[in-house]
């Protein structure tokens, strides 16, 4: 199934950088687009005094397969976790649980909302807030949902252009990233 690009210039530039670096043998870091989505979700909270960490989690995952991230939290701090995926038409969700598996989520959001699956988007981000009841290890669950056929249909209906053949095709996994902040 084809992945659709509507930020063609950005992706084309990234492709040029790949060729340049491959030829020159220079090691530079790339922008992790899933993390960029997570940081985009974090932006409003920086103004509220949240310090956003530079260290993050990211990777590739099969759609629908839950991911579990362990993390040390401190009672007395307030935390937001922000998850992102740059995969067009995918939706990411994030939740948080204590060491007993009980939800400790105080509030959260998902963009785009999961029930409006007819909305095609370039990617998705989500957030969850918690005030840990004790200093301990907590568990953050991230799920990226993606239906290739539905996404292709929605994209076509909304006039998104398909990618160049062979580039950006869905091969079974989608990207994900997770960041957090505290205050």
């Amino acid at each position: 199934m084809t992945r659709y690009f509507n930020t063609f210039t950005q992706r084309f530039t990234a492709l040029l950088v790949v060729f340049f670096l491959a030829g020159g043998g220079i090691a530079y870091s790339f922008v992790n687009e899933a993390i960029s989505m997570a940081f985009e979700a974090a932006t409003p909270y920086v103004e509220q005094g949240f310090e956003v960490r530079e260290d993050t989690w990211s990777g590739e995952v099969e759609p629908g397969k839950p991911l579990l991230v362990r993390h040390q939290l401190f009672r007395g701090n307030e935390y937001w976790f922000w998850a992102g995926t740059s995969w067009p038409g995918a939706t990411v969700k994030v939740d948080i649980f204590d060491s007993e598996g009980q939800s400790v989520k105080l509030e959260g959001f998902v963009k785009p909302p999961p029930k409006k699956d007819q909305e095609f988007s370039e990617g998705s981000y989500a957030g969850v807030r918690t005030l840990p009841g004790k200093t301990a290890t907590y568990f953050v669950r991230v799920i990226v949902e993606f239906d290739p056929e539905a996404a292709a249909k929605d994209a076509k209906l909304q006039g998104f252009n398909p990618a160049v053949d062979g580039v950006g095709e869905f091969t079974g996994t989608v990207d994900w990233g997770l960041a957090y902040g505290y205050r």
């Binding site: 991911l67 401190f74 009672r75 939800s103 999961p114 969850v128 005030l131 505290y182």
Partner: protein, 286 residues
Amino acid sequence: MIKTFSYPLSQLFRRGLSVALVAGFLSASGQDEAPLQIDLDNFPGEIVEKVVVPIPAEIFAVLDKLGEPNWGSGIKLPSGEVSANDRSLLALTFGGLVAEGFIAVQAKDAEEIQKIGREVLALSNALGLAVAVRPHSLSIIEAAGDKDWSRVRDELDSTQQTVRETMEKLRDDELSNLVSLGGWLRGTNVVTVFISDSFSEDKAELLNQPGLIIHFREVLEKMEGPSSKTPAMRAILVGLARLESIIGSLETISEEDVRQLRDITRVMLEEFYYEKSDSAADKAGN
């Protein structure tokens, strides 16, 4: 900027619990699809292996809420010479130095921060990472001059992250983990010093980090090469095992436990950060 105010954690917790109950009600009423419970023992997905180590500033933020310690008294730059040949010790020291920067930010001591910024650059030079670190070092010095503490914190975090990422690109994951260990150790040591000086159970709970101690122990146990067998690395591994034996078995951490943790972390730091002193080793039972 982190707000600093004195507020009992128990009250914060009660307030948090109230909000959680409301959130739980909303969840149960169908406005939210998140499950109220998951089975962690039979998790139907993938466990992410990567461990993100909290920066010292995360713990310092809570300590500030519980009553501002005299952060200035906590700044203690390394006095010993580190062998430029031992990259493992350099990596540990680098992490410790970044943690020192976080302490100096809490103290709002621009002069010390600038000194640390310059030390960070010198150390990155010894590690062969000066090109990557120089912009961060200059930003730390500039932000400290502007007394922009939030920016200094961001830059310290970025510096550590840049160094770790650069090491990982060079397939030097072991060194990257040692940077985190050095920072965690220095941060934990200063926290134990402040909690020993003014003990409370709320403060001591901050040291309940068995998962991180196990992570660091596993990192050292998996290390390969000549560095992994040095007396310094072995001593740090023993120290981690001793920390684990105290923290891993306790429901609450007592004043005596905190003193032990302080002395053990001090002895561990003396393997790479401070000059060795007999008194610290004696107190730690070495």
